[in-house]
Symmetry: C2
Subunit: 423 residues, 2 copies
């Protein structure tokens, strides 16, 4: 048993090894994930700035800036990282960190871009329940790989006090999206959330429940069997270390992750001025599509949905089927056919915006999305919205340092029959 200081020291002096995350880095992030509540802009920026190992060392040693030390307070002297990591392991979980290959970097880039817009003055920053801050690490439980499951994922959210109609529609959408290879992401709650997860599971498709409590004690307890099935087929995900309770404000902090991890958010039922409406607005704020299922105008549980659809600023889209959802968030080539005939080149199917972003991409050296936005003459969130589609259509690629056009394929002489065909 090494102390946290020994592990951090070791990580600080170790030579980085490709594809391997040092145990000190993971332990640093485990410690940081308990030191301050997720969603704190200044804390995330400090960790980004000095790195997780150095951030933890300085906070433990009392040499971090006053404002950051004030955020941590007395917890600077505590260390339950080995206990947390052990509890996670015992329930079949682990801590995924940004240094892991499994980290869903592409989806979460939306939050990185959004947090860059937060002002430096902490008094003018968004409240923690609303700030678009990336997570410092994600505790996950289950068999799936987080980045793979998040790649083609859609959030289905809605009222806990759902009607039979809402639960039916959520389950149908979950099932149909699952059948077509999409991961349904939701919050594991009663009502719409549970129905969406169950629909996906019925299609034997993986689904992700993003929790606002520890992965070892998922809430609500009455969904225990459901959470077990989700872990077997997909993932339980949380920013909070094992054992943490689902405090009220944590649901709001959690919602940005549901939006950030997915390509779009489908609201199935929502009362007026409800949490589901807030989730939809979070999704729009980080540049995601907001898709809304209508319902009877006589149903209180659809009032919030109709409000969203009438809100011109939100540009929410009315959807009634999984086909509509996929048409809205799908990728050119993978999911979307042309209306009459398929485009002869992937470029033909692009929106004006996507074509402009593509034109802004350099051939060799990758550039930042900020740079693309400047060249394409559009908003950074718009760039962010079209980049995943361009990448999946193999028109652009991420070099590790920035975005560039995908180089043309190298010609190959391999015939259609490989060695296996001769056997």
């Amino acid at each position: 048993m090494t102390t946290i200081e020994e592990d951090l020291e070791d990580a600080a002096s170790a030579t980085p090894e490709r594809g391997v995350v040092h145990r000190g880095v993971r332990r640093a992030r485990a410690w940081l994930s308990r030191a301050v509540e997720p969603g704190t802009v200044d804390f995330w920026r400090y960790v980004e700035d000095v790195g997780p190992v150095e951030a933890a060392r300085r906070l433990r040693a009392g040499s971090a800036p006053d404002r950051i030390r004030a955020l941590v307070g007395a917890r600077a002297q505590e260390d339950v990282t080995l206990a947390d990591l052990g509890r996670a392991e015992r329930c079949g979980g682990r801590l995924v960190v940004p240094e892991d290959d499994e980290w869903p970097a592409l989806p979460l880039h939306a939050l990185t871009l959004a947090v860059a817009r937060e002002p430096d003055d902490h008094r003018r920053q968004s409240d923690r329940t609303l700030a678009p801050v990336p997570p410092l690490g994600l505790w996950v439980r289950g068999h799936g790989r987080l980045d793979e499951l998040a790649d083609r994922s859609v959030a289905i959210v809605g009222a806990r006090a759902a009607t039979a109609y809402g639960e039916h529609v959520a389950a149908e959408l979950g099932h149909q999206l699952g059948e077509r290879g999409w991961t349904v992401v939701s919050g594991g709650a009663f009502g719409i959330d549970g129905a969406a997860h169950r629909g996906a599971l019925a299609a034997e498709a993986p689904t992700i429940a993003v929790l606002s409590c520890g992965i070892d004690r998922p809430y609500p307890a009455a969904h225990g069997a459901l959470f077990h099935r989700i872990a077997d087929n997909g993932l339980l995900v949380s920013e909070w270390p094992p054992g943490c309770a689902p405090l009220r404000h944590r649901f709001l902090v959690r919602n940005r992750l549901i939006a950030g991890l997915t390509r779009g958010t489908v609201v199935v039922e929502a009362a007026a001025r409800s949490g589901a409406q807030a989730t939809a607005r979070r999704a729009q704020a980080v540049g995601r599509r907001v898709l809304v299922v209508p319902g009877p105008v006589t149903s209180a549980m659809s009032v919030g949905c109709h409000e969203l659809l009438r809100d011109e600023d939100l540009q929410a889209e009315l959807v009634t089927s999984a086909a509509h959802v996929i048409a809205a968030v799908g990728t050119i080539g993978d999911d979307l056919d042309g209306p009459v005939e398929r485009p002869s080149s992937p470029r033909d199917g692009l929106s004006d915006l996507a074509a402009r972003v593509l034109d802004a991409c350099p051939v060799r050296v990758g550039v930042s999305p900020e740079r693309l936005a400047a060249v394409a003459g559009c908003d950074i969130l718009e760039v962010l919205r079209v980049l995943p589609a361009l990448e999946l259509a193999e028109l652009v690629q991420w070099t590790g340092a920035g975005w560039r056009l995908t180089p043309p394929p190298t010609p190959t002489r391999d015939g259609p029959a490989g060695p296996g065909a001769a056997a």
Copy 2:
């Protein structure tokens, strides 16, 4: 009993008397309304061109152009006008003609503008079931004044095979719109139409049924009692003379009148590829707002509504209440409050478009809407959409020859107490 030739002759030589329509003019239009099916572009243009009396005379005398004579055929020698006018009178009806003060000229101007866009070549003109042609006259039955009832009116249309949900919503909308002084216009059919009429009647508000058959034999017969109540409180309206049967194509021809007479069309329930959808598209084609009530995505009777809402070209607006409908079609000042505080001048509340059209209006000599569109740099249909609101806000006025700014009010010395107050 005068012959039609005598009446026409008399009308042709009579000095026009202000506020009085010559019996020969009304008889000419009665004859024309039976001579050719409504909705025929070339026939309407000919009547506009030479006037109703001259058109009837020339057709009777065989001196009209070949193409117009071909449209009338052998019916040129028939004359049942006195019988038609008598049948109308016996059922409490009359023929309202464009020469009457009661003619709803302002609403129907939408059709006049739209028909101007039809090409001269009749082979390239819209099919009669789709051509946006004004009526040559309107047979009406009931106690209301057509122009007054049509002034603040909204169409409520939808499926005949409506669900209980749809009928409930249509009746509620009809009731609430009626309570607020709006005339509900519909087609008198089973399902949504009937529910909307009944809702208005329950609020003791006038309602208009636009029929595709004679006003003396309204269809469907099972709605006989309903039609009686409508005639008592509002109007039955038809382009077809008494006795005409509700032929299938006549429903389609009729639909343009429902759109033309009203400020907007609310679709309550519609199946996929249904007649109600077609009515909505007709409304948009003549520059009217299309308002759509959503429903359960599991209901076949709402599929058409959701299709309309997903059609970006249509720019349909989702509505769930009479308040939403009035906000969409109401008039600044009369119906619409500013979002927070009332505008200090009627101008303040105007949309960009309305302000541009207002700025295009001259002070003295009235100009055509076409001219306004050219000066304001917008589409003629857009001009048409904002003119009624500008007029009802008393910002512009119709001079008889064109539109101009409303002159400032002449100062008056009358105190608040009139002569009656002294009695």
